[in-house]
Symmetry: C5
Subunit: 251 residues, 5 copies
């Protein structure tokens, strides 16, 4: 459970709702047709913009954010150094029996144990990394585009309200409430963009950078193992990926 | 038929039209001169911006969106592995008889069967890929620029309306309706940008990324075949392009 | 004569002028001091931003837009294949007599005929291409910056008008017309940006991409000729630059 | 103590507070719920956008700005030339005893003294540099995003105030003060963005570029030492990183 | 003296001041506290954003703009061809006596005359070029950021004025003049951004591109001299950097 994301959403919305209740007249802020046009319209624009599969992928990725990240960068480094020691002691074939939940590391070990050509191993792992990056970039893009469409739809809703109000200015006392309602869709659109879509796109980017870093470490580690580098050299090299303060080697 | 694009447009416009009808006074929202200035003006600016051929190409590409994509990434991988098996069993010359509707794959097979120099094959296929990418980028750019011009023209229409209204403020009761009409062009421009041009540019980008991915797989596959790699290695390498969950090999 | 650019400007301005006349009171829209501040101010900012030589270069490039493009991409390919045939039949020295209006192609032929080192030929032609790209990018940038300055100057004019109006609110009936006049500079700035400067910058980019593509084809063709490739291989390679539908070889 | 950053903040806020006091009615500008929604909301959005660790890292980096930078670029060059002299005179092993507070330089010296393979040294140091760049980029990104969220939350606060005011327009004399309060959150958001978050992100970037330059000099110096270049050549090469006026060699 | 920059500033401000005087009531446009908040505030934000040294560097670079550029691109080419002739006739050692005011060319000549390794010469000159580019980019960035801060501070001043006016709406006749004053800071900020900071950033970029081009020509020329290319080949290669119309060789 990633507490920060959860707390951020709770605190953000509490502050907004608090400000609304504090100012009284809070029922004015609920407007179902306005919500429909902003939420539904943003969703519709997103459906035109992306294939359905990519939207579902992005939503799954966003849900996965709330499950905590388990592995630290330093642990990945230690794992790779450990594997380098095994390969030095028992030979490359021993990598076949490495147990790991990381499918990329598994693939790297199997390719090495298979005695494949080192250029093929490098090419194959590089393709895995760039393909994952591209898929992640699309998921971030889905939320970035949602963060663009929500305020646009909010503005469309406000323009509809303004045109309707202005075209029938019979009762001056109705102007204020009508404008209040018209502004609501802009309010909805801005909140959805600034408190949900934009920050989620950002978190997906953070997660992707982290995962990508781990893959790069495994990739560099695999290259070192293939070149039969000494485990201490492997540690010196891979620990360079870790911020100095967090580096430590657990035997 | 790509249902999502179609449904997205239907739902988006239904919500907008629903909100208009729900608010009454819906006839106000139809203003033919306003529509002409936004649609015609955006089209005029696009005609200055791009050669006619590129605009037609973009429109054709947008229409092709509504026809469903047929090939999955995994199928392309399987096709290439299949071809690698044939080339291993029967020699590179056998590729001349490969039947395929993909003109890029056809060209790759013919070049290989022709016994061309491997550097020339790589260069030729690489030019095919980057040329296609450049042509696709122009089509996306046409819609991105339309998405920029539509709100600008909407604002021009609104400014014309405001100047006319303000310069003849004799009848106060006419101010409201005149402003309503002036705002309509901004409304048209925003809708066209947010519900049509922007998402279509996005979908063209998705399609292009997908097609480019397939070309990259064929390119990597062709390279592997030229290097006479074992079909299992070809599969290991090319399946790296596919998201892990979707990988499977159909014999 | 590039009809599209011409028609685009005619249609765009006709629609705007039509909307103005249709709304009556069209004389309000002419305000000489306002035009001076927007046009003169944008020009002044452009003069600070760019050396005079680059501004003149951009204007010349914009004027050249209205003269039609003569050579298609496929023709350039055919020319190169033709030259490859000559060089195969008669030797590299024969390229000295190639007649062409394209100065880049002329230079390539002379360098090859001169029997220069292939690395020097590649470097020299590459410098020609990137230097041209850089000069073209500056011309596009001149118009992009103009498209930014025009609305800013329009806003400055509007602020001047608003401050003057607000600081002397004696006669309420004068407010409307004064605001109308204040808005005019924003109107001028937006039109100049959206119907002239932005689309012209776009067209310069299209032209530049096209010319650059032709130079790349000549460059690749020259490399093939130096490597003494068979004309059919040269055609296979160079035709990859052309969209599949437009490829055909005229003997 | 970095005086400029400190003075910039003091002067910026003094001018704003001065303008407020000069205009009288300064108590109006303090609005606790408004501050809460802008500051708290921006912080909440940042918490959703980034992992907690990265936010803390960014804040630490921002605090470190106020401590003055100690080493000039020219000093780093001189240090490296000095080390090159030692290595020439006493051999690569002597680098083990180099005393330095720079952990990157320490690591470079140890790797060289260890007699490691030159490719491994280059790879390891390159990973150190790019990893540091990536961590710095994230810290800058935290402040850039804060600079985006603050005005958005300001606008959300203003919209809440406007909707509340408009929906209960009973007392016309209350309209002015209510709008004043509504505008305050936009005011807070703009100030936080323009006088704190944006410039701090900029300063972090300056610092990062400076630190990166020093690392590049150490990296190039280490390469020269490995290639056993003459100290004068090392100086000629490394001093190229320094602006001409600041170059001088202290023996 | 670069006339264009000077004239641009004169004309731009003349037009703005002309429009102000033409509209009467010109004394309203002078508001010292408003100017202080926009100019002082932008400067304060810039001081937080950049180290003092980089701001001074940018100001110096901006002042140097007004001194005319002396060397044309073609002259640089001719100089390099001349040096190539000398080196061919008298040997590389003769380059030691080349007299030039360009410190980069001087360094290149000395390195060549020193008989340094060609890889070291290339690396050293490349570092000089990229270091200069980075320093120039920072100076441009200072003005770009100023162009961003000025309108933000203008908006902050306007918000202060609006809040003060709205919170004390006792005298309706004071509303107009108070709003006029409030708008002035936005006016100042927009003018400073559009007529000073943005175009100066642009001119710095033009200058930097020009200087960089000259350095590239010297760099390519030095490489050719090291490879002992024939002066005619050097001319053919280097003249490719010059626009075709401006190429000519002065013996």
């Amino acid at each position: 459970m990633d507490i920060a994301t959860f707390l951020g959403i709770i605190i953000g919305f509490s502050l907004v709702i608090g400000a609304i209740i504090f100012g009284g007249a809070s029922s004015v802020f609920i407007n179902v047709p306005g919500m429909m046009i902003v939420i539904g319209g943003s969703f519709a624009a997103t459906c035109i913009n992306f294939p359905v599969g990519e939207i579902l992928e992005a939503i799954k990725a966003a849900i996965k954010i709330f499950s905590s990240r388990k592995t630290t960068t330093n642990e990945v480094v230690n794992t790779m150094v450990h594997i380098a020691e095994i390969s030095r002691r028992e030979g490359l074939m021993a990598l076949e029996d490495i147990k790991t939940k990381n499918p990329f590391l598994k693939k790297a070990c199997l390719l090495i144990a298979d005695n494949a050509d080192s250029k093929i191993i490098r090419d194959t792992l590089r393709i895995e990394i760039t393909s994952m990056q591209k898929r992640h970039a699309i998921s971030q893009d889905v939320f970035k585009k949602m963060a663009t469409y929500a305020p646009s739809l909010g503005m469309i809703g406000t323009l509809i309200g303004l045109v309707q109000m202005l075209s029938s200015l019979n009762d001056p006392s109705a102007i204020g409430p009508a404008m209040a309602v018209a502004l609501l869709t802009t309010f909805y659109g801005t909140i959805m963009s600034a408190l949900i879509f934009q920050p989620l796109a950002g978190k997906l980017k953070s997660r992707s950078l982290q995962e990508n870093l781990h893959l790069e470490i495994i990739f560099e580690g695999a290259k070192s193992i293939l070149e039969n580098n000494n485990p201490r050299i492997v540690y010196d090299k891979l620990s360079s990926f870790v911020p100095p303060r967090e580096r430590h080697y657990d035997r």
